[in-house]
């Protein structure tokens, strides 16, 4: 379990995170939603240890990040997988080399063992014929799948995804969502996703955290988000006519 306690972060005068407390459970897909500038990315960077919080604690299965030594932090990071918004694949490496990179760096496996593992994870993300291609030669959806493959190749305990659907067509976006959700269940890991995409909220959001102006405004499941009276959440989630109608239908069905 990832436990976050009273997290604060400021950049100069801007108080970006104002005392966030929450937890993320094993085997669940957790979504962090909120408007641009609400603090989602900073919150995720704090979870990843890329930004040091001013106050508060983050613990990973009892290991408090701020109290770990440099070596222990590096070891913990090997339990993390991250899918970046722009995929962040290494341009100079092929798809196969990108996926193999963490294993090459941190394990003593032979080349053939690593190739076998790469084949397994690339097959898992439905990428079979792209091994020798460079990131620039494949589509955005394929790049996202390579990024997911790279993130899971070391069997991480924690998977983080920053806007995994951005820039993708709706069909590919749903495929990526479902893939992440399936992997979460299959490997029994903790998945935390930063998202703007309301389709993702409705499809895979087992736990949803809504941030506004650096405060955790609301927390609940995808079923609870239909029923909530919280004005800030309803204004954000049901800002489009389509989702307003979906909510109306859901409430009518329930009644």
């Amino acid at each position: 379990m990832i436990e976050v306690e009273n997290l604060h972060k400021s950049f100069g005068d801007a108080h970006v995170l104002k005392g966030i407390t929450t937890s993320f459970e094993k085997g669940k897909t957790n979504l962090i939603i909120g408007q641009s500038g609400s603090g989602k990315t900073v919150f995720m960077k704090c979870l990843l240890g890329l930004v040091v919080p001013d106050e508060g604690t983050i613990s990973y299965d009892g290991r408090m990040f701020s109290k770990l030594s440099g070596r222990e932090k590096r070891d913990l990071r090997q339990d993390m997988g991250m899918v970046f918004q722009g995929s962040a694949l290494f341009d100079s490496m092929t798809v196969e080399e990108n996926v193999m990179f963490p294993m090459d760096m941190f394990t003593q496996q032979s080349r053939s063992e690593m190739e076998d593992r790469v084949n397994i994870v690339l097959k898992r993300v439905n990428l079979i014929d792209a091994h020798k291609k460079y990131p620039a030669e494949i589509s955005g959806g394929m790049q996202k799948r390579v990024a997911i493959a790279r993130a899971i190749v070391m069997n991480p305990k924690y998977l983080f995804c920053d806007e995994p659907n951005s820039g993708l067509d709706p069909k590919t976006a749903i495929l990526i969502d479902n893939l992440i959700n399936e992997i979460t269940k299959e490997f029994d890991i903790i998945t935390v996703i930063n998202s703007h995409d309301m389709n993702s909220v409705m499809e895979i959001g087992e736990k949803i955290i809504f941030l506004q102006h650096g405060i955790k405004e609301w927390e609940g499941t995808k079923d609870e988000i239909f029923k909530t009276d919280n004005k800030a959440v309803t204004n954000f989630v049901y800002s489009s006519e389509l989702f307003k109608k979906v909510r109306q239908m859901y409430i009518e069905e329930r009644n």
Partner: protein, 233 residues
């Protein structure tokens, strides 16, 4: 930054391949421009010296002497370094800067890789071969001077070669190599700093490359002054 760069690499076998890749990119990849510039630079020095020798009492072997001194003391180590600051320096800044903009550096950090060590250390080690480039620049600069001298019919090749051998002080070559090692370190680190700590988007990568070239040149010129004062003053 420097402490992180010189920490023990995560895996030496990967570091070795990175160093070889950087040697190919930074050193071998720069040979063409260095060879081209050195020959013409030496040629110009020889022509200019010859054209200024209007007094018949000044011996003609002064052309070879002046070419040797100019090339060994200044042109090969310093002028070549300024060119390298433009070619290699902007490559380093833009490649690391692009990795920063596209979150590839964050990806390395999240994986638990010391990104400064992974990206900068191989470049520094590769640049320690830079004195060899300077040695080639010295040789070709003087050779270019000889060719220009013969083609321009300024003096005989014997006179030019006599000039090259005249009052030769071996320490001048050592001084030049000391400078080139220091410049190599500057060429590897200043652009890396500008690339690694840049903020913004694609446009800012271009700006960072320009800024890095300016600062690398400034640092090289100031260091050149200080080293000359310390070693020859």
């Amino acid at each position: 930054m420097v402490r992180e760069v010189f920490k023990k690499p995560t895996k030496w076998s990967i570091m070795k391949s990175l160093i070889l890749k950087e040697i190919d990119e930074l050193i071998y990849g720069s040979m063409g421009i260095v060879i081209f510039i050195s020959i013409f630079m030496g040629g110009v020095v020889a022509i200019q010296t010859a054209l200024n020798l209007t007094n018949p009492f000044i011996p003609k072997d002064l052309i070879g002497f002046a070419t040797r001194q100019s090339v060994i003391l200044e042109f090969a180590p310093t002028f070549t370094s300024i060119i390298m600051a433009g070619k290699v320096g902007s490559y380093i800044t833009s490649s690391i800067g692009t990795m920063r903009v596209t979150e590839q550096i964050d990806a390395l950090e999240v994986m638990g890789v010391n990104s400064l060590n992974y990206l900068v250390f191989p470049k520094i080690i590769a640049m320690f071969l830079y004195p060899f480039v300077v040695a080639i620049a010295m040789y070709l600069g003087i050779f270019g001077g000889l060719i220009a001298n013969i083609l321009g019919n300024h003096s005989t090749s014997t006179e030019f070669i006599q000039g090259i051998q005249l009052d030769f002080i071996p320490f001048h070559v050592t001084y030049s190599f000391i400078k080139s090692v220091v410049f190599a370190f500057i060429i590897a680190t200043v652009p890396s700093f500008h690339g690694y700590y840049m903020k913004g988007g694609a446009l800012d990568v271009g700006k960072a490359s320009t800024t890095s070239f300016v600062w690398t040149s400034v640092v090289i010129i100031i260091t050149n002054f200080v080293l000359t004062q310390l070693l020859l003053g």
